[in-house]
Subunit: 89 residues, 2 copies
């Protein structure tokens, strides 16, 4: 059964305040990085799924929408790629 590596990116929607990002931005500005703006802190989740591609894609879409993100406040996108087999010597 093939194995897939998934990468999930969860970001706050642009209209939602991001206090963590603001704090990072302020800290950076005190560290002489005043040219940095628009800091937004989101989540990056890696996971591995086994199964056939079509099923895994549907399953991942469900997981991202219903478990890993809150669609009211967050946007999420994901990438899926088949894990490479260990090549023979």
């Amino acid at each position: 059964m093939p194995t897939f590596n998934a990468k999930v990116f969860v970001t706050l929607k642009p209209s939602i305040l991001d206090p963590q990002g603001r704090t990072v931005e302020r800290a950076l500005s005190h560290l002489d990085h005043a040219n940095v703006a628009g800091v937004r802190v989101g989540k990056y989740i890696e996971l591995t799924l086994s199964g056939e591609r079509a099923e895994v894609e549907a399953q991942l879409a469900d997981i991202v929408e219903n478990v890993l993100s809150n669609p009211v406040m967050e946007n999420a996108r994901w990438e899926l790629e088949e894990a490479r087999e260990v090549a023979g010597a």
Copy 2:
């Protein structure tokens, strides 16, 4: 002065335990997603920097290494791309 959009991905090193990821994994297994494994939860940070490309690259490398990640426990990588100008009508 050009503006650049940066994306930063911070992940725990593979040898570091990830309780948050384990919790997500257990929750998924209770939700009939038993084929999911290796869940690791990291950070995804977006920021905008203005300046010349060479300076911005050096600055971002410094920020990622010293502010946004803890090199003892975390790996970090980043992508930088120039923000597109708003095209004239």
